[in-house]
């Protein structure tokens, strides 16, 4: 159980970092441009909100298979097999949680007035400098919200992991899967412990994040 908890935390942390790394430029692009391409990308990013996770999991399972092009490219590049690995879980989680990170950031970026960016430019700030010195501080609370949503959503993920994870303890068996496993085995004592543990963990995480984002919101 400790193994499943550790794995869940690791998956959520790694996924959140990737989500921020990929989601931030994507959200900036979507917020600042308006074209057919942005609408298309916006639609694709939002897909996990409406699709059953098993659908996404199914296609990922096929894509990650050793005989698929993507699976082979991955193996050639990293030397590891992608199917049923921790990396596969991270990719699945990032895709699945992307809208939860991109959408709040996109909304926040739209709120940053062009007028302030212009003022910053006339004071000598280049594009990256403007981003760091104006956009980032103005959107700080949205970054915290986006990160906490991405993190919590990864912790609560089940369908995608079930499809692509393969239920390997220590490698792909996260808390939600372990719980499912115990129930299947009619081990209700362990299931209770896991379920209650997840509830408690989620409560504490969300509480801490909301508290800190509240503090930021007041300060900025």
């Amino acid at each position: 159980m400790a193994e499943a908890l550790w794995l869940t935390l690791k998956l959520a942390t790694v996924s959140t970092l990737w989500l921020l790394l990929l989601g931030t430029p994507l959200a900036w692009w979507l917020a600042r441009r308006r074209s057919l391409a942005t609408t298309l990308v916006e639609t694709v990013v939002a897909l996990p909100l409406v699709l059953p996770p098993t659908v996404l999991g199914f296609y990922l399972l096929i894509a990650f298979a050793p005989q698929s092009g993507f699976g082979q490219a991955w193996e050639a590049l990293t030397g590891h097999r992608l199917a049923f690995s921790f990396s596969a879980l991270v990719i699945g989680s990032v895709l699945y949680s992307l809208p939860f990170v991109v959408q709040p950031l996109q909304a926040a970026f739209r709120q940053v007035p062009d007028s302030l960016l212009e003022a910053a430019a006339t004071l000598g700030a280049g594009p990256l400098d403007r981003w760091r010195s104006v956009v980032l501080p103005l959107c700080r609370s949205s970054f915290i919200a986006a990160a906490s949503l991405g993190f919590a959503h990864t912790v609560g993920e089940f369908g995608v992991v079930l499809m692509i994870g393969g239920n390997i303890p220590g490698e792909t068996q996260v808390l939600s899967i372990a719980l499912f496993d115990r129930v299947e085995a009619l081990d209700f004592t362990a299931a209770h412990q896991l379920a209650a543990g997840l509830v408690l963990f989620s409560l504490v995480t969300l509480f801490l994040l909301y508290r800190s984002s509240g503090r930021w919101a007041v300060r900025t």
Partner: protein, 360 residues
């Protein structure tokens, strides 16, 4: 090469802007025009926030900012911009806003202490922009612009959203800045009184075209300009303090070897001044009035008479080498049988003192 060379054109649907001119490379150039005349677009092009059409050429005192081969982005132009809405960074306090400019500047310029004193910010440094009045915000924005070490300062109606008391205060501070700071400034406004206070040179924009341009003192009394036909029309003239009369609390000014009396001033005799004489506050008499409460009476000669609307006439009067404007009714013109070249007395009902101590 002390000049600002501007050649640029821009069109947006119905609107088009075309400017090709050379402005003085020092002092304040006022850009005057109604809203929609292209004043803000012109500033945006100079700052690099808007891109002019091919053929654009912008050069400030020898430094090329924009032409066919090179178009510097705003951050590399060294052109500071004071916007109508102060645009302070809401996540920084006043000191943080000033520091933002200071840390990015690449040219020498005044320090924070100096600029804070000029704009009266000493007590505001730890405040956040949301806690400041509009006038205070604009003072911070001006200070921030100066701290960026600009080669040129652009101001877009910085007094537009400020209450009367705040305007008067800020105007006095700007007048002081123009004396102490050796950086050329382009100041946009639709208020001639404001420009008369600050500008040395004037450029009039109408529907994106330059309709007239020249030294402000010269332009202010020219009849053919739309400027003289507006409600607020006024001549701007030079005078000098002659002597003080403490018994009456008045100061006598020497204006083209004649006298003008104003409320007693604190400056010593010999100080040059700039005065604004509104056209509607000047009345004309054929003979010297004997019994009048009006103190200021000038012997003048009519140089031009021009109709200004249905019932009113604008008369241009020479006093020595300078000119006044008088707006009177057509009925009065006929009653007095006014002709060009005649000598008349002008009664001056109000004299507005513009900022002190400048040399034109």
């Amino acid at each position: 090469m002390s000049e600002i060379a501007l050649r640029l054109s821009l069109s947006r649907g119905e609107f088009s802007l075309a400017v090709d001119t050379r402005l003085p490379g020092n002092g304040v150039t006022g850009i005057y025009g109604a809203s929609g005349s292209g004043k803000t677009s012109l500033l945006s092009c100079i700052a690099g926030l808007l891109r002019g059409e091919p053929g654009t050429h912008i050069q400030v005192n020898g430094d090329l900012l924009d032409n066919e081969d090179l178009c510097l982005p705003p951050q590399d132009r060294g052109v500071a911009y004071v916007f109508q809405d102060a645009r302070l960074f809401p996540h920084l306090d006043v000191a943080g806003n000033l520091d933002y400019a200071l840390r990015r500047r690449r040219r020498a310029g005044p320090d924070t202490g100096q600029v804070s004193e000029w704009l009266g910010l000493q007590d505001l440094l730890t405040r956040h922009s949301a806690e400041l009045s509009r006038g205070q915000q604009q003072r911070v924005a001006i200070a921030r612009a100066l701290l960026s070490g600009p080669r040129l300062v652009l101001m877009d109606e910085p007094l537009a959203n400020i209450d009367t008391a705040g305007r008067r205060e800020l105007l006095a501070r700007l007048a002081r800045l123009r004396r102490e700071l050796d950086v050329p400034m382009i100041y946009v406004s639709h208020d001639m009184a404001e420009l008369a206070e600050l500008a040395d040179h004037l450029l009039v924009l109408n529907h994106g075209q330059v309709t007239s341009e020249g030294p402000l003192l010269e332009l202010s009394s020219r009849l053919e300009l739309a400027l003289s036909h507006e409600e607020q029309a006024a001549a701007v003239v030079r005078a000098e303090i002659a002597e003080h009369d403490p018994a009456y609390g008045l100061t006598r000014l020497d204006f083209e070897a004649q006298e003008l009396w104003v409320n007693q001033l604190a400056m010593p005799a010999g100080t040059p001044l700039r005065l604004r004489l509104p056209a509607r506050d000047i009345s004309l008499c054929r003979e010297r009035p004997q019994h009048t409460s009006i103190l200021n009476l000038l012997a003048t000669r009519v140089t031009d008479i021009e109709s200004s609307g249905a019932s009113r006439v604008l008369v241009r009067l020479a006093v020595g080498e300078q000119f006044l404007l008088a707006r009177i009714t057509r009925k009065s013109v006929d009653a007095l049988a006014l002709r060009v070249g005649e000598s008349l007395y002008a009664q001056v009902k109000s004299v507005a003192l513009l900022n002190d101590g400048r040399h034109d």
